[in-house]
């Protein structure tokens, strides 16, 4: 024999009682896994999002303009501070999707062979399309149902159709960078074609560009520098007679979806500490179980010469080995889970995941926690267990233990009217109050977070549906040009399925700074006075009144970017090249950071401004007579398009209400998925804790069980008693967790929406979460009780009575 018996005992205790060892290792591993995944995500998300966005050499300044030629592009190149500029032609078409409906698609054409700015990442095929070929972005590829080699059908506003072969699929991190089109999640599929294909599709002036992608010299991280250079370019373009439709700036490390990542990371950190705390409680409880089982052995060791310190050393060594094993198991599992999660997030939030890189800091954190937390958590049970006298340890009877006769115990003992075995089960719940408290803390917190996740999800869904209130129509029709309102209404009303039509209008608008220079782009929407098709979420002030003239309402992003602008202030916007003053009457909540700056004004006043055409509109919102589901909306959209094109009305695109809602939901589903994973981890912590508690409770009552068996209790009765005890603990924890979930879910929801939208959303409670957790905790309670109960009933009466 090479090792001394006391260390042999450590190894034997580890190996011989595998169930117990696994339970302890699982308690430690759960906490380590959560910490590992969270810490890895924190480091990896920030690293990959920043570096992958930077790696594509994103445009620092973007302009959407009227058509310009190559000379103008070359001219921009020579402006002070401009490092590089690339021109592109971009416009909207429609593409036939897998269901046979027409979806919007953004077409881009530029010299991809020479392009250096805003590079796409090749996923499949080639990035360089040739004539009659198209490369597609991957963001909505599933709805198209195509792969490399397939053909897609595009349709322009004249109704002409073109078939192009898909030769590549790419990931484009530039989607959502302008911020004014609803961001990445609402973006259409993008199709990249070459110049020859443009010509074939009869695009007017195919040699001209309407989009400029510009990088600057100097430190592009300086937003002021970007604005300064952007303003210079803006003024120069204006001076040269170019109309600017949209203008935005962005630093090279500012990924458009970073706010979503910040929200995820913020939430994860909030839950990290909770998981470590719960894991610590779980470990304490489980180690208490171990020490309780070993109490007699502690007494024996002390009786044959072991000092208290020697016994403590034995158990500290055992815990150390548990911690090391937990780390050894968790480290690769952490890597696998992190890798899977990052791959999913990379695809969903649109960044390039560089692959799993073992992070030394994360590993050190995990090792530290694996070694230290169990020792700290186990210290109290070890000290308590080794502090008993030999007599107490051998007999299991603590001579000086207080006999509990509190008011609470007397109330419990006085409960009448239920069968005696069930009464015993009820009293058993409260016998070990310290242990019960620890179990309830971990299980209740687990339940509170689990329920809160559902409430947060419902709050998000509610928020999304409220966003949908901004688009109450079934269809949003965008025409290629403004058309007479009366004519369009006549066409649309000829369809008996259509109940109501409202003409809307939009314009390109730029903020005008105090010095007269042009600032950020603002999405500018003119709605019919008193429109019934919008129900805004007001934060401050009021919505537009039908009698308002130059009143304007601004979205929540304004409050973040321009905190000095208040209700009652007057702002100047350059709308369709004309400066106009607007009085701010209110702020509404939309999608905050994810959607850019937006505003609404009354249509009547808008059309009276210089440069506007009365009684014309390019956007029409349509309400159907019946309530339509998603597929029915698409059918109606197709009919409407046909009707309009039959009358030579060019349709740029028709979006349905469900498309808007579903797209907005995509981003939040990522968050909800992360939350659900954490909720499951937390539920596991609670479940393991309850299993340990029930195991300890049964073990301590083995003799009682034997006595009950000797006086007539069947296995069924005994198991039922144990199940009742477990279920009562589970249900009490459910009640406490349900109460705790109220503040916790509110805190979680507020933190998330503040990160995402810059402001709090309304909180909605989810009954589903309560019901599901009730079912889960009941199942956990049954499982946690069943195993120790069955073990106890398998012992013979003789065995249990001689147990001590």
């Amino acid at each position: 024999m090479n090792i001394s018996p006391r260390w042999q005992k450590v190894l034997s205790d580890l190996w011989k009682n595998k169930t117990r060892s696994l339970s302890i290792i699982a308690s430690i591993a759960v906490g380590l896994l959560a910490i590992g995944i969270i810490a890895n995500l924190f480091f990896s998300l920030n690293r990959d999002m920043t570096s992958s966005f930077k790696s594509i050499n994103p445009a620092n300044v973007q302009f959407t303009t009227s058509l310009i030629d190559q000379d103008m592009v070359d001219h921009i190149q020579r402006i002070d501070g401009v490092k590089a500029v690339e021109g592109a032609r971009e416009f909207t078409m429609q593409v036939l999707n897998a269901e046979g409906n027409w979806d919007g698609i953004e077409i881009q054409s530029k010299n991809y062979g020479a392009a250096q700015i805003g590079l796409t990442t090749l996923l499949e095929g080639t990035r360089l399309p040739e004539k009659d070929q198209i490369v597609l972005s991957n963001n909505k590829i599933n709805t198209l149902g195509v792969k490399v080699g397939d053909w897609v059908t595009l349709r322009d506003s004249d109704g002409n159709q073109y078939k192009l072969q898909v030769v590549g699929i790419v990931q484009d991190q530039m989607l959502g960078t302008t911020g004014s089109t609803g961001g990445f999640f609402l973006a259409n599929t993008w199709g990249y074609v070459d110049h020859a294909t443009l010509k074939k599709m009869s695009v007017a002036l195919p040699d001209y560009f309407n989009k400029l992608y510009i990088t600057v010299k100097g430190d592009a991280e300086q937003q002021d520098l970007l604005k300064q250079i952007g303003t210079s370019i803006y003024n120069d373009l204006e001076k040269n007679g170019v109309t600017i439709i949209q203008y935005s700036t962005r630093t090279p490390t500012n990924h458009p979806n970073v706010s979503l990542v910040n929200a995820i990371v913020g939430l994860l950190f909030m839950l990290t500490f909770l998981i470590v705390f719960l894991s610590g409680i779980l470990i304490t409880n489980t180690l208490q179980f171990l020490l309780t089982q070993q109490m007699q052995q502690v007494g024996v060791m002390k009786s044959i010469g072991a000092t208290r310190n020697q016994v403590i050393g034995i158990y500290m060594a055992l815990i150390l080995i548990f911690g090391l094993i937990a780390f050894a198991i968790t480290a690769p599992v952490t890597a696998v889970f992190t890798d899977l999660l990052m791959k999913f997030l990379g695809k969903t939030i649109n960044f390039i995941y560089s692959g799993f890189h073992p992070n030394l800091i994360v590993m050190l954190i995990q090792i530290f926690l694996a070694l230290i937390v169990p020792q700290v958590a186990g210290m109290l049970p070890i000290l308590r267990g080794t502090n008993l006298s030999v007599q107490e340890a051998l007999s299991g009877i603590q001579q000086h233990a207080a006999i509990s006769d509190s008011w609470f115990d007397r109330q419990v003992n006085h409960i009448k009217g239920i069968a005696r075995p069930n009464l015993i089960a009820l009293r058993n719940v409260f016998r070990k109050k310290g242990r019960l408290a620890l179990t309830l803390i971990s299980l209740s917190m687990a339940g509170a977070v689990f329920i809160s996740v559902f409430s947060v999800r419902v709050s998000f869904m509610d928020y999304i549906s409220k966003i949908g209130q901004y688009f109450l129509a079934d269809l949003n029709i965008t025409l290629s040009t403004s058309e007479r309102v009366d004519e369009i209404k006549q066409i649309l009303y000829s369809n008996p399925e259509i109940k109501y039509v409202e003409p809307w209008s939009g314009a390109r608008a730029l903020l005008v700074n105090a010095d007269g220079s042009s600032g950020d782009s603002v999405s500018f929407t003119a709605m019919p006075n008193g429109s019934k098709l919008i129900t805004p979420i007001m934060i401050e002030g009021r919505w537009l009144d039908p009698r308002d003239e130059n009143a304007i309402v601004l979205n929540d992003q304004f409050m973040t970017d321009f905190p000095d602008v208040k209700v009652g202030d007057t702002i100047t916007l350059k709308v369709n090249d004309h400066d106009s003053d607007w009085v701010v009457v209110g702020f509404y909540r939309l999608v905050g950071n994810l959607g850019g700056l937006s505003s609404y004004v009354n249509l009547n006043y808008f059309v009276s401004l210089p440069g506007q055409v009365q009684n014309h509109a390019s956007v029409y919102r349509v309400v159907a007579r019946d309530t339509l589901d998603s597929s029915q909306e698409k059918v109606l959209a197709a009919k409407v398009q046909t009707m309009l094109e039959a009358r030579n009305i060019k349709v740029s695109g028709i979006s349905t209400a469900s498309f808007i809602n579903d797209s907005a939901a995509d981003g939040f589903n990522v968050l909800v998925l992360v939350l659900m994973i954490l909720a499951i981890l937390i539920a596991m912590v609670g479940g393991i804790g309850l299993t340990g508690t029930m195991g300890m409770n049964i073990m301590e009552r083995t003799r009682e069980i034997g006595i009950m068996r000797s006086i007539g209790a069947s296995d069924k009765v005994l198991i039922r008693m144990v199940l009742i005890e477990g279920l009562l603990i589970g249900w009490v924890s459910w009640g406490i967790g349900a109460l705790l979930s109220l503040p916790i879910s509110r805190i979680m929801s507020n933190n998330l929406t503040r990160s995402l939208f810059g402001s709090q959303s309304d909180f909605v409670l989810s009954i589903t979460g309560y019901v599901i957790w009730f079912v889960v905790v009941s199942i956990l309670s049954v499982l946690a009780s069943l195993i120790p109960a069955r073990s106890a009933t398998r012992l013979t009466v003789r065995e249990v009575l001689s147990y001590e």
Binding site: M1, R6, Q296, G299
Partner: protein
């Protein structure tokens, strides 16, 4: 095998163990219970003492006092000049490991260690004998009790008698002068009990001082001295009677 000696000490010799005025009161929900009510006893080197009495007479409690497993409410116990009452737990453990061997009714072997490892354990804790010597000594002890062939077995793989015999070997691991056995045959069948008792007799003959608690008067008769307890008091002590006879 009965012992020949009924009296094993000489008048005037210094007692190995002195129990003076020992009182033990237990507190429970039902009130106080006096398990030992002023016990005065001296034990001499080489004695094989049987402590008898009915259930509740205080005999196991007395054994626990002598072994330091439990502490008296009043009184003093001195062993080989060392007052053990009032020692802290840690010092008591060390002293006990070196000077006492304890045999319990339910063997109390560590279940995850082999018989050999169980016997080595006290040497390990008390750092007695060189590392290499410990295994040899343990095998020798197991051989002495006839269990060398089972040295590498776990306790669960052996019979009650074999476990109790191993417990005796473990009690001898650090070569203590005193063995305290609390109902060592209480959980054994008659034949095995006889075999274990014979082992004690042999050890007594070899000079060990043995104090054995038993409820079996027949076994007690075979010791060299019988101390009878009743309701926490000494009612008879065969050494006193022998002294009177002289």
């Amino acid at each position: 095998m009965a012992t020949d000696r009924k009296v094993s000490h000489k008048r005037g010799a210094t007692p190995l163990i002195r129990v003076q005025g020992i009182k033990k009161v237990f507190h429970s929900g039902a009130g106080e219970f006096t398990a030992l009510d002023g016990i005065d006893l001296d034990f001499y080197s080489g004695e094989f003492v049987g402590i008898v009495g009915k259930s509740g007479s205080g005999k196991s409690t007395l054994a626990n006092m002598i072994t330091g497993i439990d502490h008296p409410t009043e009184g003093k116990i001195e062993i080989e000049g060392q007052i053990i009452t009032g020692m802290n737990e840690s010092d008591m453990s060390i002293w006990r490991g070196n000077n006492l061997g304890i045999v319990f009714q339910f063997y109390q072997l560590l279940p995850t260690l082999t018989l050999l490892e169980n016997v080595i354990l006290p040497m390990d804790f008390c750092n007695r004998f060189e590392n290499g010597e410990r295994e040899e000594r343990a095998r020798s002890l197991l051989g002495m009790v006839g269990l060398e062939a089972l040295a590498d077995k776990l306790p669960a793989m052996t019979s009650g008698g074999e476990q109790q015999t191993t417990a005796i070997a473990r009690a001898l691991a650090n070569d203590p002068p005193i063995l305290i056995a609390d109902e060592p045959t209480g959980n054994l069948d008659t034949r095995t009990a006889e075999s274990v008792f014979n082992l004690f007799c042999k050890l007594a003959k070899d000079g060990k001082t043995i104090i054995m608690v038993t409820h079996d008067p027949a076994l007690a008769e075979r010791t060299s001295r019988i101390v009878k307890l009743h309701d926490g008091k000494v009612v008879t002590d065969s050494s006193d009677e022998e002294q009177k006879r002289r």
